[in-house]
Amino acid sequence: MQTELLGIIATFALTLVIAIPLGNYLAKVFAGKRVWTNIFSPLENLIYKIAGVNPNEQMDWKQHLKAMLTINTLWLIYGFFVLMYQDRLPLNPDGNAGMSPHLALNTIISFVVNCNLQHYSGESGVSYLTQQFIVMFLQFVSAATGIAIAISFFKAFKEKTTNKLGNFWQHFTLAITRVLLPLSIVIALVLAFNGVPASYEGKDQLTSLQGDSISVSRGPAAAMVAIKHLGTNGGGWFGANSAHPLENPSYFTNMVEAISQMIIPIAMVIAFGIFIGRRKLAWTIFGVMTIGFLLLLVPTLQSELGGNPKIAQLGITQVSGAMEGKEVRFGPTATAYWSTITTVVSTGSVNGMHDSTMPLTGLYQLLAMMINAFYGGCGVGLLNYFVYLIIAVFIAGLMVGRTPEFLGHKLEAREVKIAALVTLISPFLIMCGTALASYTFTQHGNAAWDTTPSAWLNNPNFHGFSEMLYEVTSSNANNGSGFEGLGDNNMFWNILTAIILLFGRFIPIIGPLAIAGLLAKKKYIPESAGTLKIDTKTFALMTFAIILVLNALSYFPALALGPIAEYFTMIK
């Protein structure tokens, strides 16, 4: 166990060792400073030329959002049709079928919004063409969208008063050429050399020692596994995601994948501080996020390593903790660690079954996704955190007797209105989604749909409730992991989660950028002794309290009926 703990400590330490210089690098790249990757600029110029984009044209926040929404809509339309007709298109050696319209809709939205909720299984649901030109393509561009908007957000606070937030197309292009592509290539190579397949051939046949014939799915998986983590996407090549021996063959690849999903979210925080010249603020934000992360990680480890009380009641000692649903090559510690990071940073890839984790672990996974700002997704994590920050600044500002200010800009009714709306949208989607599902399950259990609602849940009762809650929470957080055990590939879940995915993605992007754009236009107020400093420990505590209380108040009843009820019933 000692070694296992050392393993995750080393993983986290390495994450920081890579993420901090990466943050420095990101700040330089987007500030247009000299970096070695400037050798790619001819390539970028070619892209701008072909696309007919002037990278120096400055856009305001509305133009940014317009550009972002336009390109996302195009991807939606393109992907929807390709997924539906993949059976008639090339690169389909296993002869997989086309998707049903509602599955195609759910899948394409899910990938466009960086969620990667997969209601299909990679081996049989998609072809090599769609894996690469839809799934992988979107894993790059959806992550780049998040980074690009975050950079526009940075630019709002770089100058004292400005209307110019840079050029969306330039941010987007640089996010791919300077960040995602180079890092993915390195990681994909490391993975490929460690046993992750990288081949265009169809299923392999092998004969087991018993003489049974087994067909093993493969494909160019290494490249996708790299970007799925780097871009906090999470969608696996294979159905079992990173628990699959070909997607995550060893403890070493497990470490590589764990590290690669955390580095960009952490680096973005560091980059923010350097970019706007307020390093202390960035470290304060990083501190709050890290404490939040650790407060989720430590109890998760405790609950998993403690083993299952029901098994303990049978008189069986569980030396290595709760092993149900876990891979022996990773063990419960690394799996618990993974379950925390994948829920805090909205990756959603898994290396074990979340459905099998202890009830309290499920509670922490849910909480991590509800908060969705302890590092958070690629670029968007910081935007989510910003909304909490605005509310904290507003209340704290009043408490010190001054009209609240954020980085020298007065916070007024309009900004508070937007922040309140964004805060509202998550409880609305999560609670109403779960309520609708619960209602359908109890009141229309026998409806003659493609799957009758009463057949959705493998374990009705509290755990079944958690499964439904998890599914909508994961969709809202654009996380994509699932408490499997929920029959989710049917019209109801495909459409419900598709709607939640869309709102859960775009409102928390539009809102914060609008607030930042509005604030940036306002007159800059220099700091005085009466100004509330937001890079202090006290204010960090305030933000933390706001995050905790807001989420606890919104979700406590739902959590009480799911994981908490399950926990108390289990220990009885």
């Binding site: 009043l398 408490m399 001054r402 779960t434 107020i525 002794a529």
Partner: protein
Amino acid sequence: MEKSSTKLLNSAMVSIAIKQSFVKLNPLTMLKNPVMFTVEIGTLIMAGVSVYSINNSSEGSFAYNFSVFLVLLLTLLFANFAEAIAEARGKAQADSLRKTREETPALLLLADGTTKTISSNDLQKDDVFVCKAGDLIPTDGEIIEGIATIDESAITGESAPVIREAGGDKSSVTGGTKVLSDEIKVKVTAQPGESFLDKMIALVEGASRQKTPNEIALTILLASFTLIFIIVCVTLKPFATYAQTPITIASLIALFVCLIPTTIGGLLSAIGIAGMDRALRANVITKSGKAVETAGDIDVLLLDKTGTITIGNRKATAFYPNDGVDKSEFVKLSYLASLADQTPEGKSILELAHQEYPNLIVAQPENAVFIAFTAETRSSGIDTGDGLSIRKGSFDAMKFFAQQHGHELSSNLIVQVKKIAENGGTPLVVNKNHQPIGVIELQDIIKPGISERFERLRKMGVKTVMVTGDNPLTAKYIAEKAGVDDFIAEAKPEDKMNYIKAEQQAGKLVAMMGDGTNDAPALAQADVGVAMNSGTQAAKEAGNMVDLDNDPTKLIEIVEIGKQLLITRGTLTTFSIANDVAKYFAIVPALFIAAIPALQGLNIMGLKSPESAILSAVVFNAIIIPLLIPLALKGVAYKPIGASALLRRNLLIYGIGGVIAPFIGIKLIDLCIGLFF
């Protein structure tokens, strides 16, 4: 008018407020406060459920439902009471002001020069009326002819009469004050019912009170919290159906009312009214609630030296005779020169002379001619009948006279003059028959305790700027001694204006106080402009507050009142939200415990039964409102300890306190209610 009544409430106000609490239940009135409006809807539903439960037990017993209904109704009444009592207090304050506005006869001056007695209520703007000694001034106006001593104690509480005269900066008179001597002609400056006082009265009474920007933003935030809790409560029904737990309507509504921020929602408007009321108690009339709020954000404070930083005028502090001049002789001659001098400086020379030589008796010489100060000669003095000519004046003026008459200036005189100037004093040279014989040192006396006030302001983050007509050397000395951050020396009205504009350009909010017509543009430019009541009409129109006491240090108080207003809102919001944690632990187990006994683990307070738990929570939620009314009215104390320290302090008291208090409160209430349910 009494300066401020220390009593928070009296029985008359309470009875008016109780009546108003019921009147305000009108849904149209409640609609202005979204949080409390939702409570009203909940109360109505509970009334229906209570009636239903008389014959049906599916929604719980009648006693239980009716209890919940009663507690909710109490919650509403308490919230209304908070607002009503704040209004009643404001009204009482306003009424005492209004007493001065009672109908009085006015002597209207007609075009043909004759006068006619009419009621003060019939005076229109631009009418001219005449007031003689002993008359009450019927309404606000500006003296256009004459000079008079006026007793303003009805407004300021200050018994010493003041002089008001046509022209200049002291031409304004206020309705309700009394002319003590002489006769004046006054032009009416406002339509009946539109004077500052009338506007203020309307504001405190709530009739024309508009929400301030911060209040609007906070209301939006609170409304969104309310929406979240609507979602939580509505979705709970299908959740409970899934968990096969029947939830009564009473429990759902109780949960909802407990969760939404009723504490701050109920007290919000009371806090706003109380803020303006506090300003009024400080004898400051604000033209809008927004001005009070802005005052809390002030970064730069422009203060006139005279009257604010120093005690009005310079005083003589020392006599420095020239070498070879006997000191007693010098003092005697100085005394003689100042004998008829009515300026405070002149009087202070006599005072000092008596202090140094208690037995000094200088008789007024016969046939003496007093020479008054003029701007040209810049000196004053006396010519006695026996050919003695004494003059005192500025160094430059005296030097000029001496040299004109061929006298050399002694070097030790020059040294002495320079020394005095360097120490921030003003040298007054005395010439005997055009020959300088010594220097009198005049010093500004800095008000005691003023530098501590500036220190307090600095800790608030407010920069103080002294405005003075003095030369830069003197100004610098006084600025340092008084502890102001910056000064404008040899200030002309446009200098103030430029300073304000420059600070505003840098994003700062500036407050200033002024009285003269030439201050008007700067008062209008400043974010908070406080005009003195004695000031000209133009100054009063330009500013957004009027100080009835004419006290220049009032600005400091105004800044604190503004800050207090925001702090009270912020801390009570925090308290209200922090309370929810405990309420969840009371209500959520109570909701599900019947169907899921394991959730007893969440009942960490060990409340007796689901009914008693829910009732205890709503009772706590209701009684916390009246308990906090005194705090809302008085305001949370502002401590200038720096923003971060202040946040830490308030977070500890109202955040942590807000989490802990309801755990204790609910448990205690449960111990009582548990006896019945």
